[in-house]
Symmetry: C2
Subunit: 410 residues, 2 copies
């Protein structure tokens, strides 16, 4: 069975059964910047989440993990401008937010997913959130604009709003899946990830939804690094309303596979957008590692290349310094035969072999430069010792990364 997954208009409100809103409630000083988003489903959804593996995790991560233990949820509330991490009253405030929203919407407190992003260790002002909740509720809408406003409200140093939707047909029924996310800095997800909220009108059991989400995350969000720092607040959740009209997915099989393929496409698209919009990034780096012996090793090697500060600087300077790629492979802690490795740089301007069998391959510097000045670069590595491939995404290291992070709190 071949499933055709198509991008479609709209974001998280495109799947049947979801409304969204995004407003300025006052957490940010700049009244022009929206700082709180709400997503509400028409009925209780199957729900799943993945979270940061950082030992220091934010209060909303702890609260949401507990709420989603039962695999059900109905609303997502997320503020930007404050991480609500490392605060003595963090749990009290995350719980107070859930309670206020639940009362406003007439749902159970445990049906609320709460998330925060912003500076760590500054007490979260609760008043703006409590006064914002009725307004968020009043502005809930099914339109694409409403999804836009929610996507905007969760941005921090992101330059681009990240909002996507895909659809596929199964047994004559169209199923949609939308997502919004934010990334930018402190991006090096491990198991969990940066903030991402996915909605779908597929009908699927909570158990299978959880399995599908974990599988998609492993190959997409968890293969992204902007700066090697795993955030305290990473979280991706998915809500499945079941309102597409398609039969419920209750076991593995064609319907589950189709759902996973669509979820994977959506997560990959969101992950690549986060890498491309990394703090200070001028280009998206994609490391494709081919023909390795095992998947865990292949992923570790590809991610080591993407994470190397020296590789990232070389890409910023469009410098074909492939020795740094060999170096990053070598310290990844994965055994391999260095005398087999080929490295190519590739972009829409062309492709060039720079290292063959672990040794330099003579190449034209002008051609290499013309390939590397593009804004999407593929680093193609052939390990020649197996048939397993892995892909990781990252971005270059620029002056702006230093500028942004040298003075983030001001």
């Amino acid at each position: 069975m071949s499933i055709i997954i198509k991008p479609c208009d709209g974001g998280i409100t495109a799947p049947a059964g979801f409304r969204a809103s995004g407003i300025h409630c006052g957490l940010r000083k700049n009244a022009e910047r929206r700082d709180i988003a709400l997503i509400v489903a028409d009925k209780t959804c199957s729900a799943a989440g993945v979270y940061t593996t950082n030992k220091v995790f934010a209060a909303p991560v702890g609260v949401t993990r507990a709420h989603l233990a039962g695999g059900k949820a109905r609303a997502v509330i997320c503020n930007s401008g404050n991480a609500n991490a490392c605060n003595a009253d963090g749990y009290d405030k995350a719980n107070a937010t859930c309670k206020a929203l639940a009362e406003e919407l007439g749902i159970a407190e445990e049906e609320v997913i709460v998330a925060s992003t912003g500076v760590i260790g500054v007490p979260l002002p609760l008043e703006p959130i409590l006064t914002g909740i009725p307004k968020l509720h009043a502005e809930l809408d099914i339109t694409a604009e409403a999804s836009d406003l929610a996507a905007t409200a969760i941005m921090t140093t992101d330059l681009k709003k990240k909002e996507y939707c895909f659809s596929y047909e199964f047994n004559g029924t169209t199923i949609k899946m939308g997502g919004i996310c934010k990334g930018s800095g402190m991006i090096h997800p491990q198991m969990g990830t940066m903030l991402g909220f996915i909605t779908t009108d597929a009908a699927i059991s909570a158990e299978l939804l959880d399995r599908a989400l974990k599988a998609a995350i492993a190959d997409t969000f968890n293969m992204v690094s902007v700066d090697g720092d795993t955030s305290t607040n990473d979280m991706v959740t998915v809500l499945a309303s079941g309102l597409s009209g398609a039969a419920e997915i209750t076991g593995e099989g064609e319907a589950y596979d189709a759902f996973c393929a669509a979820l994977n496409t959506l997560c990959r698209t969101m992950a690549m957008a986060i890498a491309a919009d990394g703090e200070g990034a001028t280009k998206l780096l994609e490391c494709n590692l081919y023909n390795f012996s095992d998947i865990a090793g292949a992923k570790t090697l590809a991610k080591s290349v993407i994470c190397s500060s020296l590789v990232k600087c070389a890409m910023f300077g469009a410098d074909a310094n492939w020795g740094r790629i060999l170096c990053a492979l070598g310290y990844a802690g994965v055994p391999f035969d260095t005398d087999l490795v080929d490295v190519r740089f590739k972009s829409k301007a062309g492709e060039i072999l720079v290292c063959e069998n672990g040794k330099g391959h003579p190449f034209d510097e002008d051609i290499a430069k013309s390939i590397l000045v593009e804004d999407v670069i593929q680093i193609e590595i052939n390990m020649k010792c197996g048939n397993v491939n892995a892909t990781a995404w990252g971005c270059d290291f620029s002056y702006d990364y230093v500028r942004i992070n040298g003075d983030y709190r001001s």
Copy 2:
């Protein structure tokens, strides 16, 4: 017994029995820059080395490791400007260098330590080295100036020459220990380290020398990170001439402990100098982690803080963004109780508590700024769950790091 270790003038030629030289042989285009260094002992020395753990290691690392297997050496030759890594003829050229030097000096080829530093994957020009060797030999000298020239010749993007000497007295005899090293970029040693060459006139068996070096490296060079990239060429060697007149150290005890204390002081001084002179660095960061339960965990935690790109950017901007420190502790993969952690920033301008029991402690931003604008910053972390301490060194992340590494090869 308390041993007083004093800094003293001179570098690697201060201990009895060593001569050095450094010249421009032609590996670098700029004729003003010295590019090859030689250290020769008057007699065969006890010798030990530690090397990079990168799976992709340079040919001179492989050759030196083989030569030092017997624990004896007499000369060190080291070029800058070319790493001799990832080249098809790398071993041939490293061996040819040793052979030519051995013939020139009338010693065995296996008594030569060979090292290289510079760009990876560009074939090493052998001619300049072969014609340089007689000149290096002719210019060997015992003076402090000769040590200076050798220290200068191994520099790459280092801004400061790194040359140190310490002395201590044992049983009425003065023992000296000198070292030169280079660092700057691709600095994140694991087991081995960047290039460092140590000479001493202590008399010590090769076996004990090896043990002492490995112990010193673990707490000094291996606790430094500039950019998280473990080089292909890291190497530290020590030559012990035995010409101080002191009795040979043949077993553990007071003489061995005194030697280890001096070696540790020298290595720590060299390691801190490498961190302070990291590529683009404007300040030295020292992370002191106190009262943890085990040393491996304490080291991992301290190093995680020093390696965080976001912490490094915050220090560049003198921004007391302590949340990033908690974040870096949290993703280090070491279990700890986040609710016990205190964090202080300290410099010669003062000291300030910013986080207590894992939560923000109110602090004066102006005072914090005045502490963090200094060029040596201590990040003091109290884990309050044991009595083990660890220290790691690094530097901030600046615009210049990006500039230098965006265009390293040109």
